[in-house]
């Protein structure tokens, strides 16, 4: 029992619990949306919790941690002081009084509370009782006070309140209560029906924590009525504490009544959790502390009494209870009760985490399918744009059409006399064709620009649509508001390359077809470029004549390009050529979008949890609970 270096036994339960804590730590709820904050808080608490359980399962001979929790003003600190036998902790009228928790233990147990095993998530400072008043208060850290007066194996922790305006206090109290082996729950006559307090009691019950409820400030005259009512309320929420302990309201009336009766009723030689001090020493010390005496004269002869302490006689019931807890057998029992309860309650507590992770995975799946949908739509919309005709600049198109419609181009179709052919061939090869080549180049550049612009805009719109839809998903809002708009930096360059490559493909197609139709003219090879440009224009700016089967070629005959191409290559070939080249361009566009999709899918993958996580959690949980 006096081991200063805590022994650790191998325990399969402890290992299982530690594994569970590790698995739970993998969840980060990036896709949980509005629920993220609460789930993260739950996760962190659960991790601490499970680690505490693991410690409890492993360190069977660790001291029993009794946490004094409850509402503000119930007298936790006063009771702590009374047990310590000196005004260690500040008490007062300011609510909440206690901002920093204090732990009392036997010096032999000190190692447990300074080492990495118990309450390790708090920063801790060891303060001797003498230094206590001088020690600086550091909110959020835990003061550990070794006291020779206490029995080894039992530690008392004065926790902050749970119901005052100080949220920090509640969070800290939650942490400490979760780590406790036994709850000493303090409430008072004025507050016993408060819903906050009742919620905590229900939680203790749910988790099977060993629970002692302490009702303070009870006037003797109201005692029976209040206890009955409180018991009824506790039964109402199905809380069954191990004991309901009453600490009377210490006022003149009580002291007068108390004068002879209670001290006698306490067996003086009983083994006690805290060792009795010489009564004579106390009044002086309390007075030295400068604490104000409420019932000065009347109390003086009976017991030590100050604002920060109670007369011991007022605490007999509580004392009995602590005495019982200090017994090693009882300690073991309480600890295992709490551990058993806590572990079996784990299933329910881990469930929201597992569910949260599972629903995150659903969200991720939904988000990925959104990407597929919006980018598929972009491809469709691109295909439609081409079918409808891209917005090629009318001015350039007009010049091209004029050129195609001119008699010069007409000659090229092979209708003219061989003389004319020769004349044209000469012109095409000679200097006279420079302007025409320039026009042809301009048309190609215009086509490339327009197609590239359309592609980039569609990619942007697809990204925007995706993010909009993510925003509606709830879980995806964080990502939707992130920096994912727009497109990859190199998309414009890749688009331009793809469009140029496509134009070359069209030239090849036209050349193949031209060669097949040798009968037309061998000289045509010189005009292939011009014809291909015509085909490109038809494929992109065609006004529905060729694809709309019902409209038929005839109605579109007005379009010079089509007329020309049909004349040279034949209607079926032109149809085939246009549909082939369109298909090719659409295919190229959908290939261009692959890195875009990957960019968004990567963001989802980075935010989404491991797909195996829910089942891993479930498995770890099953192992721990079994």
């Amino acid at each position: 029992m006096m081991n200063s270096t805590p022994a650790s036994a191998h325990s399969p339960l402890a290992d299982a619990l530690r594994d569970l804590a590790e698995v739970i730590a993998d969840a980060d709820f990036a896709l949980a949306g509005d629920r993220r904050e609460s789930l993260l808080a739950l996760r962190d608490r659960l991790i601490d919790d499970v680690r505490n359980h693991a410690t409890r399962a492993r360190d069977v001979d660790a001291p029993l941690l009794v946490v004094l929790g409850g509402v503000t003003g119930a007298g936790k600190s006063t009771v702590t002081n009374t047990i310590a036998g000196r005004p260690l902790v500040a008490t007062g009228v300011i609510r909440p009084t206690t901002m920093q928790p204090t732990l009392l233990c036997h010096p032999a147990d000190l190692a447990w509370f300074t080492g990495p095993r118990m309450l390790a998530s708090l920063s801790r400072q060891v303060v001797t009782p003498e230094e206590m008043s001088a020690a600086p208060t550091a909110t959020g850290s835990l003061r550990v006070v070794p006291l020779d007066d206490l029995e080894p194996g039992l530690a008392l922790l004065d926790a902050p309140d749970i119901d005052s305006v100080s949220t920090a206090n509640r969070d800290l109290a939650d942490l400490l209560l979760d780590a406790a082996d036994v709850w000493l729950w303090f409430t008072t006559v004025g507050k016993y029906a408060d819903i906050e307090s009742m919620r905590y009691l229900a939680r203790a019950e749910r988790r099977g924590t060993a629970l002692v409820v302490v009702l303070t400030q009870v006037r003797d005259s109201d005692r029976d009525a209040v206890i009955d009512d409180f018991a009824l309320k506790l039964a109402g929420i199905e809380v069954q504490p191990a004991a309901l302990v009453v600490i009377p309201r210490v006022d003149e009336e009580w002291l007068r009544r108390d004068d002879g009766a209670v001290p006698e009723s306490t067996p003086p030689q009983r083994r006690s959790f805290w060792r009795r001090r010489e009564p004579a020493a106390e009044p002086g010390q309390a007075a030295r502390d400068g604490a104000e005496t409420v019932v000065a004269e009347a109390a003086q002869p009976v017991t030590p009494q100050s604002d920060s302490m109670l007369p011991q006689t007022a605490m007999t019931e509580l004392q009995d209870w602590l005495d019982r807890l200090a017994d090693p057998g009882e300690r073991q029992l309480r600890r295992s009760q709490t551990l058993r309860g806590a572990v079996s309650a784990l299933s329910g507590e881990v469930m929201p985490i597992i569910d949260g992770t599972a629903s995150e995975l659903d969200t991720a799946k939904e988000m990925l399918s959104t990407i597929d949908r919006t980018y598929d739509e972009a491809v469709d919309s691109f295909a439609r744009s081409i079918d409808d005709g891209l917005p090629l600049r009318g001015e350039i198109l007009g010049r091209w059409t004029d050129y195609v419609g001119s008699s010069r181009m007409l000659e090229l179709t092979g209708r003219a006399t061989s003389q004319a052919k020769r004349w044209i061939t000469d012109l095409l090869q000679g200097s006279g064709s420079a302007g025409e080549r320039r026009l042809e180049r301009e048309v190609r550049v215009e086509v490339a620009d327009t197609v590239t612009d359309t592609m980039i805009r569609l990619a942007d719109l697809a990204a925007t649509d995706t993010l909009d839809e993510w925003g509606l998903l709830g879980g995806g809002r964080a990502l939707a508001e992130g920096d994912l708009r727009g497109h990859e930096v190199d998309l414009p360059a890749r688009c331009l390359d793809a469009v140029r490559a496509w134009q070359d493909t069209v030239v090849d197609l036209v050349a193949d077809k031209g060669v097949e139709r040798k009968t037309k003219a061998r000289w045509m090879s010189t005009a292939i470029n011009a014809l291909a440009t015509g085909a490109i224009v038809v494929a992109l700016a065609s006004t529905g004549g060729l694809t709309g089967a019902e409209a038929g070629i005839a109605t579109a005959a007005g379009a010079a390009n089509q007329a020309l191409l049909v004349t040279v290559l034949g209607e079926r070939t032109v149809r085939w050529l246009v549909s082939e080249s369109r298909k090719d361009l659409v295919r190229r566009f959908s290939e261009l979008l692959i890195p875009e999709r990957r960019r968004l899918a990567g963001a989802v993958a980075a935010a989404s949890p491991d797909p195996e996580l829910p089942s891993r959690m479930q498995a770890a949980l099953d192992r721990a609970v079994a």
Binding site: V93, T188, V226, E292, P391, G394, D453
Partner: protein, 530 residues
Amino acid sequence: MKTPERLHALEAGIELARGRQEAVHVTAARDVFLRAQERLARGPEHVVVALGGGTGSGKSSVSNALAGAPLSKVGVTRPTTDRALMWSVGHVEPKLLEWLAVVDRQVVSPTEGLPEGLVVLDLPDHDSVRTAHRDTVNAAVKVVDIMAFIVDPLKYAQRSLFEGYLRPLANHAEVVLVVLNRIDELDTAGQKECVSDLQRLLADIGLGQARVLAVSALTGEGIAALRTVLAEETRSRRAITQRINADIAAAVELLLSDVDPGSSLGDIDSVVSALASSADLSGAVATAAGTYRERGLAATRPPITGLFASTGRRLSRPFRSSAATKLKKSGRIGGAHLAEESTETRSARRGRDVALRHSLRAMIDPFTTGLPSTWTDRVRSLAGQLSDRLPGQTRDALDVVALHPPRRFWWAVVAFLWTLVELSVIVGVAWLVVLFMIGWLQLPDPPTPQLGEVPWPSVLVLAGIPLWLLFRGIRAFAVRRGAARHAKRTAKRLRTQVAAATEVGLRPITDEVAAREELVTQLRRLSASH
């Protein structure tokens, strides 16, 4: 601003906010508006004070001490008061009672300390296990004029009171009283400490101006002061409007909370450009220039040589794009043209939506970043509708711009002078031929007028041919210049027209910006005058 005016302004704000801001905020503001109207209609001669607080703080004791009679039950088991009890000094309008939804009521006769018109509601607790109590309190807190929260040294820092009731009333400092009861349990120093800590906590949540009173219902200490405060409030009756104003301020704060008044629409020019390209302005401009050229050349063509000019052109006619031909024929891009060319242009228009959608989205995004999500959705769907509608509207608007140039005066002048030159050359040649024929036939020379040494027919021919060539050059140059000018002017006119049409077409979206401005102005005015 008077209260009716404020309510009016609030109503206008609510109207603007509906469908734009978060529904919960709008509903909250609407509730405030309706409640205020009701309250003013039902018994403005009474001031209703609610005594609220946690269980065990002594609401009923304070109520009894105030009334000077044991009207409410006091007990040790918690909670004691189950239903709201009401007592009034003197008679109360039944419609006010109905509004407060109170069943139990008692009447106290007016005295010096308790003037007629005071109505006190002793509420049940808000913090016990009885949830029905909380509902009663929550309902009452919304309708009463003054909220007096009774706390005690044990419970004055209770979170459920601060977070559940006091913080939401942060705008209501004028009509919130915090009464620290049971000060008999503390000594003087403790009282002082407790009160100043309570004031600090109140100041932390913005209620530093709320009045704090320390009383003891047991000893009667401070009850007289509390009575004085309530008597004064009852006489002045200002709490009714103060409460309404504070409610309005809170609603306004909520409505303003998620609107950024500074965000504005992005670049409109890119939308204009997208529409210009969708309406194919460059094509129209090319057509305009082409028509000018054609007509200019046709109009300035000399009658005789002109006969040979148009032969080459006729060959290409079957191969001209029908769209371009029709555009040339009608000289308009707009609706009429659209109807004729339906399949062709409509499908082309759909294809051009990509640029428009993109630019519209880029335009609204900077604006919607400062808006709540409902409003953002609204603006986005408006933009979606516009991207379908705008191209057609733009085309209709462009219909008024004539692409064909009007006839120019100088065309006629050039044509006339050139005709003269041509005629004079013809006359000269004919004359010379006649002279040649006369010489060949060896007839006597007719007298030929001379310009100096040179005979006139030779002058006509020698001067006429260079002049004819000169005219040809001048005409070609002038027509080209004219066409360029005409193209430029048409482009400008079309562009202006597109910009104007865009402005009109974007009105649904600019209306949203205006609505935001109007809303912010209305609400700011409300909160400024508070």
